[in-house]
Symmetry: C2
């Protein structure tokens, strides 16, 4: 603080939907939202983690050409913002930093990589230092660069594979306000950068995030941000991205929490949004400033401007309540599906409609995500299909207003059965594969992406046919247990009723006992325990990794547990449809080349700028 | 050294083929090979990395029940060895250590995991400290435990996800010889544990490994082991596992190198083998002993026995020359396929035989791996199949003595084409999918695993049909580029000729121009550049991650590069056959649950001992 007058700052949180690999498109997103924020009088705009590259970029990080393009893109973005007249707005963007200084990469300085046999010197991943970075842009320049200190490496995160951790806490004085930069996981660590900021003395902490959605995760975030605000002795600006990226979906839930834990503002989940908050800093209450080495980090300070902004009437922050559990899941599934289809540039989707609850639910999700005109359903009755199957499928499509046609599968099934002798499960699977082949034929002919309708319970126990009903380019409810499928269907119908709209899912699909209809009179309960029991065991065994002893302690039935575990363990085979093959080279397709499917980066685009045209 | 007389030690390197998750079976392997070594007068036997759990155990490490069972298994193994009369042999085995002391896990002590929302206290992965460990067993006890210091986290390795690094160098005195324990990656690090051992003063370094095969990697290992021997000022005993584990294959190549770099012994590649070496240590030349903190590690010393073994006549070490490039690859593919089939308990395999080189090569590999009686070929001619296709397929099967039958696909293709209008690529793919459906039907009916015959060039550019020829539970040549397919075929025929055996691959399959035969007169060269050009670009773009600019610098044709890169980038979609779906839970199937397919661990086995019965 340069004097003892209270100083003000209007901060914007740009909760945007980036696209992995799309440096040019993401830079454009930054200029568009900065313009919007500038129009609203914002002095500092914060974007999500790795804004320019998208998150997670996975093995793109290891490609030097991409890393260099990211470095170029951030410098160019600073100039573009100034050229467009936003040079006086401070903008915090995430990007992939890559110094060409030959400093050690994530594997460490002296490691002779076991997989480096065949690397030419110029492609050795040990050169260069990839970092998960945030830059503060102002006046056409990159004013400061912060490197993420805590690299998560569990669950869906692999950051130890890609990045070198930072050791410096970067603090930028903006209009007399000392702003500390942090990134995502840094905020989840007690005694981490927020603790250092608390010792160093700051007025504000900003935190760009890429925090994937998980049911009820919003309940964790607010208390966590509060603990860090207390530690930092300053307000925290938490900006999270939204949108789908392959399997992950990000829900936003951006927020601002005061040093005393007061929730000042909170954004709606699962939509792009500019959240603004007016902060007033009382310099007389500000903690003493310290520099240099503080605990595990070195503090560096940069000054953009000392003079406070002219006083203005602060507006109250917008605080949006989190969504209900069902609505949150529904919207996450809609956004995940929509972004997978749209970010991959696909025109439309196709799915088989069996008249069962899974395909009815996926159809409703698809119509909510893409609009009815981009969704094509096909009824594929066999000789074992019941009358209600066909009528429920038709009813479902009619309620949704989507395209619908019917192709009976008997002629194809008969042709196979005349050529080879198939019985039992082999004969059941044949029907599912004839359907898969028909749907893939229509997909190839018309350019629709095939949606698989498998739910998590089925996938867990392998109750599906490989290359049959499991076929598809995206499986919207792959992580939704069957009991939640029913719950979501009921919620979606109630949501429609509340709005005076047609219920999108036929009541009969919800009520009838589930059946694969691959043999006469077949029901799921012939092969599986009740879905209530099954889903409870899956939650404990798969999600929580509990062993047999712990499962029994938690009150599951011993016989059910034994049965479900055997099914889950043996279905691992089926869940890896993309056949493994023996690796003999530096990078085999499979375990050691991890690239996003949804990825806009193309080597064939000669430069970032031209790529945007 | 307790006195100045030269002391001797006979060391055994048990280059064995373990199975992931099979604690009981792997323990049995240790007792069997220790008995063999004891019979040969060995004083110290070294087994590969993570002997008891198998490597890589992936997310099994996160399951506490498994970690506890591993701890139990190593203690029990020490007792079993003593009970069987081998208590006086020192045995170094790898295992998963897991202290229940609530010490910090890999994510660090204070990290609030982003994915921990739903974890009950007793399943919180932060409790317990998983380590990649080596135990020295002697006299019925676990005498010493070493924890791997350097955790590789690149390429196929994810050890930062699983383990906490060790900080202690453990040295055990055995018959007056000071033996330092290290594990795998520790040996690849200059100034790592071998450097510390050099400062501490030791007579021998042992190194259990799980170092995956890669072409020409054997050329890297010997110079690397030599550098570390010089650093440690002591001989190095490098024991590597052999065998296939899902996509990985381990080639053994175990060796012993003297302090001066002399290669004392080297094991044959890709077979189980007991390599022995007689070491003589001259105490007058031994480095001074130091203890306590040395550089990054603390040195701890343990004494098993001071008294030297009775003098014996040393035998010269066996030094096997590495295999030629083609033989090495061939055997790696054979072992990878054999272990995938046998470790998963599968009786037999089936594959489609087109008369082309890929299926002819896969059939020959399968017969070498499993024997002709476990291999079933099916010719699946269409109206576009040439006469030579059928005769070459038949010739191929006859040369190999495998089962063979023919099922023409026209009736099924006609049935589909009468039901839906398919043209162009959709019609081509239909034929491949009818074949896939037939083969999967026979697979389900008879219990054969379907082998996919796709090669790496095809997989890279997506020149295959999803759920058609790409279908299968294992793809033996998925990492073999087409040019190498031809080279291997020629090598295998020459190998047979040299032995006076029938050439297993018809010359015509090698010589004819490649064609998918999905349309009249179709050839691969209609859609792709020459395989020489294609494979050269794939090696640089996929294996070496080079960008466009570097590719052009390396002399590739610009038009070919642009074409290949576009194909490789868009085929990412096809390579992930197992449809992604939006993640909403703690663990979705896909990116955050990583389990081996080949895995013997079953929660339903109540204990390690009973599991063995």
């Amino acid at each position: 603080m340069s004097d003892q007058q209270p100083v003000q700052l209007r901060v914007g949180l740009a909760q945007v939907d980036t696209r992995v690999g799309d440096l040019a498109g993401n830079a454009e997103l930054v200029t568009t939202w900065t313009a919007k924020a500038a129009g609203d009088g914002v002095h500092l705009v914060v974007f999500p983690e790795m804004t320019l590259t998208g998150y997670p970029p996975e093995d793109l990080v290891l490609r030097e050409s991409f890393a260099h393009a990211s470095e170029q893109a951030v410098a160019e973005l600073a100039r573009t913002l100034a050229d467009q007249g936003y040079g006086d707005v401070a903008v915090v963007v995430g990007y992939l930093a890559h110094s060409g200084d030959g400093a050690p990469g994530p594997a460490g300085p002296e490691v002779e990589r076991e997989d480096a046999a065949d690397l030419p010197g110029d492609a050795n991943p040990r050169t260069g230092t990839p970092r998960n970075a945030a830059a503060l842009l102002h006046g056409g320049e990159v004013v400061a660069r912060y490197y993420k200190r805590h690299l998560p490496n569990y669950g869906v995160f692999d950051e130890a594979r890609y990045f070198v951790p930072g050791t410096e806490l970067v603090i930028v004085r903006l209009h007399g306000v000392d702003v500390a930069l942090t990134i995502c996981e840094d905020l989840w660590v007690e005694g981490g950068p927020c603790g250092v900021a608390g010792q160093a003395g700051v007025d504000l902490v900003v935190s760009p995030n890429a925090s994937p959605y998980e049911r009820a995760k919003d309940d964790l975030r607010l208390p966590m941000v509060r603990r860090r605000a207390a530690e930092a002795r300053a307000p925290i600006v938490y900006c999270n991205q939204i949108g789908g990226q392959d399997e992950l979906v990000f829900d936003g839930d951006s927020m601002v929490v005061a040093a005393d834990g007061t929730l000042l503002a909170r954004a709606p989940q699962l939509v792009e949004h500019l959240l603004t908050v007016d902060l007033t800093v009382d310099p007389s209450a500000a903690p003493e400033r310290r520099e240099g080495r503080l605990g595990p980090m070195t503090v560096s300070r940069h000054v953009v401007s000392d003079g406070p902004v002219p006083g203005f009437e602060p507006r109250p922050g917008q605080v949006v309540s989190p969504l209900s559990d069902c609505e949150e899941v529904w919207r996450a599934l809609v956004v995940g599906l929509r972004d997978f289809i749209d970010k991959n540039g696909l025109p439309s989707v196709i799915l088989g409609m069996s008249g069962g609850i899974d395909s009815a639910l996926v159809a409703a999700l698809a119509v909510d995500a893409l609009g009815a005109d981009r969704v094509h359903g096909v009824g594929l009755p066999s000789k074992w299909s019941s009358d209600h199957s066909l009528s429920d499928a038709q009813d479902s499509a009619a309620r949704l207003g989507m395209h619908y046609s019917v192709v009976p599968i008997a002629p194809m099934v008969d042709a196979f059965e005349s050529s080879v002798e198939l019985s039992g499960v082999a004969a059941e699977n044949l029907q599912a594969r004839v359907r898969g082949t028909l749907l893939m034929g229509l997909s190839n002919q018309h350019g629709h992406l095939l949606l698989a309708t498998s739910n998590k319970s089925e996938v867990a126990v392998g109750y599906s046919t490989l290359y049959g009903d499991a076929a598809g380019g995206f499986a919207p409810i792959k992580d939704v247990p069957k009991t939640l499928v029913w719950e979501l269907a009921r919620w979606r119908n109630a949501h429609a009723r509340d709005r005076g709209q047609t219920e999108p899912i036929p009541e009969n699909c919800i009520l009838k006992p589930p059946s694969a209809e691959l043999a006469p009179g077949q029901q799921d309960s012939d092969s599986l325990p009740s879905y209530e029991e099954l889903d409870a065991v899956i939650a404990d065994y798969v999600d929580r990794d509990l062993g047999m002893a712990q499962l029994l302690e938690r009150g599951h039935d011993a016989e059910v547990v034994a049965r479900v575990l055997r099914l889950v363990d043996t279905a691992e085979f089926k869940r890896r449809q993309s056949a493994p093959g023996t690796k003999i080279s530096l990078k085999a397709f499979g375990r050691d080349r991890r690239l996003p499917i949804t990825n806009r980066w193309r080597e064939s685009l000669p430069s970032v700028r031209e790529g945007a045209s």
